[in-house]
Symmetry: C2
Subunit: 456 residues, 2 copies
């Protein structure tokens, strides 16, 4: 495996790899495929599956599952791909695979299925796992309760380092990865935490209570995973305790699970801003068309709205065709300025930088920035329009409409995401449409309206 880092470094080996797998699949050559993926890390196998076409993926999954299916692949797959692969594997192989996964990974896969299928799968796993998974599923979606693992290491505060080390040596059923030992009171409330390194550096007779730090970044089972990710990022945590409503320690979340959350949440905002529902590179053309159509349709309605405005001034345009030539520029500048403001506002909201009094400050600031950039660009644009059409009034109207549109773009670019957030609507998804609708309508209306008023 020493070459993995190299592969990632230049990205070439993996390409060749993928190509070889695809060739072998095309020739239905089971032996070569098995040889190729043998010894690969589950994440690498998942990476290959993610990148295959749906048809290739089906072939590949069948070949992999002819032997023992590597259960660790499943949590690494893109959710949509995992669904397809699990359908191909069938409920028996899935249940077998799930029973070998840690509960948090199993839950992450199961939660994508509908209730009936979930019941089928749960019937096939062990009683203990069933109760653990059912409990996890009882927590809200995307909550700390779903992310956490139940296995953790906790000791009472009156123990010594020696007691702790002896306990760890005697209990081999501890979590695969743990970085923190929690200190609890008799009621199982967490009262402190000790990084493993500190325990290892202390002699056997040191008291746990002397090592324990009271910095206590505890989250609740119901805490949203985005808030958990924010906590990990802000305080550079590696592991945190999860408590239930009574404040008892019920699980821990480790950073490896949170890294995925950060990666996904941030990626989601990016995709949504571009009008895409999910990272649909792995799903079929039909599914993609279906997923993207509604967004395009909404945008069609806003485009029609803008064109209604233009239609109202058809007579004016007929007399001054220059208006038709210049009007898309006004709308386009407004749209771009608005998008800049929306981007900053949505990002600031996602990173918790726009709270309380900062909101009004941000709206005012964006309005001023829109106005200033509008003034600068309007001077250039008016000058250009005057050179082209030798019409002073037209040039002035062109500039004035630009300034007005860009100022409103700045204002609405900040105000609309804030308003949507207040209303409980995800600003990352819909702010863009609203803002460009506003800038299109204001752009066309101000330019054509002023022209109708002053040029005729």
């Amino acid at each position: 495996m020493a070459q993995t880092a190299e592969q990632i470094d230049d990205g070439i080996d993996t390409d060749l790899y993928l190509a070889s797998v695809q060739d072998a699949l095309e020739q239905d050559d089971v032996d070569t495929v098995n040889q190729l993926v043998e010894g690969l890390h589950a994440a690498d196998k998942a990476d290959i599956i993610n990148q295959l076409s749906p048809q290739e993926r089906e072939l590949f999954t069948h070949m992999l599952s002819a032997e023992q299916f590597d259960h660790a692949i499943l949590p690494e797959l893109h959710p949509d791909v995992a669904e397809q692969v699990m359908e191909i594997l069938g409920p028996d192989v899935c249940a077998e695979a799930l029973s070998q996964l840690e509960t948090d990974d199993a839950v992450q896969l199961i939660e994508e299925w509908d209730e009936e299928e979930q019941q089928d799968l749960l019937r096939a796993v062990t009683a203990q796992q069933r109760s653990e998974i059912t409990e996890s599923l009882s927590y809200p979606e995307d909550s700390a309760g779903r992310l956490m693992t139940r296995k953790l290491v906790c000791v009472p505060h009156y123990w010594t380092v020696g007691n702790t080390i002896d306990y760890l040596r005697a209990h081999q059923d501890l979590p695969e990865n743990f970085y923190v030992v929690y200190v609890t009171d008799p009621k199982f409330h967490p009262v402190g935490r000790i990084p493993l390194g500190r325990i290892m550096q202390s002699s056997r007779d040191v008291l746990i209570s002397d090592l324990s730090t009271s910095e206590n970044y505890t989250v609740n089972t119901d805490t949203d995973q985005e808030d958990v990710a924010h906590l990990f990022t802000k305080y550079a945590l590696v592991e945190t305790a999860v408590v239930n409503q009574e404040g008892r320690l019920v699980g821990t979340i480790t950073v490896d699970d949170v890294v995925h959350v950060i990666h996904e949440e941030e990626g989601e905002d990016y995709l949504r801003a571009g009008g895409v529902k999910s990272q649909d590179i792995s799903i079929s053309v039909q599914q993609t068309v279906k997923q993207r159509f509604p967004w395009l349709f909404i945008n069609l309605l806003t485009a029609v709205l803008a064109s209604v405005v233009i239609g109202a001034y058809a007579d004016t345009i007929e007399q001054f065709v220059a208006l038709a030539v210049l009007m898309p520029i006004v709308a386009s500048m407004g749209g771009n300025a608005g998008t800049q403001s929306v981007t900053v506002a949505v990002r600031a909201l996602a990173t918790r930088q726009l709270r309380g009094g900062r909101a009004l400050y941000a709206i005012k600031k964006e309005l001023i920035i829109g106005l200033l950039n509008g003034l600068l660009l309007a001077m250039l644009m008016s000058f250009g329009a005057f050179l082209l059409y030798q019409d002073g009034m037209l040039a002035v109207i062109f500039g004035a409409a630009t300034i007005l549109t860009m100022t409103i773009a700045g204002f609405s670019g900040a105000a609309i995401p804030l308003l949507l957030q207040r209303l409980g609507v995800d600003p990352a998804v819909s702010s863009g449409v609203f803002v460009t609708t506003v800038t299109d309508v204001i752009g066309f209306l101000s330019f054509l309206g002023l022209a109708a008023l002053l040029l005729l």
Copy 2:
């Protein structure tokens, strides 16, 4: 500190907090400010500083630095804010603060300064730190060499668990956080790694070589930080070894540093796609206007290009003013379809999902999706246009131009980011402009061109 998680959970306490600080600043009330921030985690203090206006920030920094300035605040600040705060603090206080930071944090701050200022600062720190920082700065920007810390725990393979624990107890100058013990050969090449938990669970006589896993996710000092982040995310790592060009172990990178990288890199792509250079909520209006103007100017040029196309058909529009009303819809639908394709392609490139043969597959797929969504929407749009204008030929031209534009939008939305990546240009920054330029020009050209050909 037990309430920190609560604060984050509902976000209300922090608002009140910030408001209280702002009130105290306005009244120049040093005592209240000090009382408010006393005992706060450095990340929380940094959070407050990030959210203050530049004027408030200056006041606040002066108040904080009247007492001993908490050096741990600096690495937590937004880079632009850190620059402002360090200027306020002055070189002496900065050097004092830097000398107390870990090398990776100090480097992260220093690298933002220009060479002369760097030299001034370096003269003020200790000789050892100077040499460490200088070495770090010799690695490329955004490389593993700049992210890593030099302090690490490594042991020879022939040691036992007992030897290792004794060594750890005897050496108290080890890194603050470490999760892995590295195993090295006599030439200091890493040959294995052991998670701390495994060592603690083993008895003193167990051989290190029996615990060591050969999974070796080693990165090179020159590896780009984005590749490091990708490695951590993919294999759920907590710590990784960094080797120099000779393959010797020279440092480690822990996940807390990588979480920041993931957060920033993903955020950057989002901001760039929206035409914003940095998360400029913390910088002044003048700076923001300066940063955003170039993007708007580039977009003005592309809007002018589109309007040149319209200008070429001014005569046609004069005769059929319906063209002016409908043409923005064609361009807008092309722009939205293109943005969807760009978003997916840029995201897929960033997450390494478009390699080798997948690139051509993706372009073909996006073209087909553009065509299919184009067909669906064109039917609706042609029908609407026919109802409005009772002109069959106009409706057909409207639909045909939409289909053509959306197909080309899909194609160029995938092809342009891939091409830019090949050319070594960051596709996240510039793909959007190129694609909307293409869709605007094709949209206006096809609609007006067909109209000139068929309606006159």
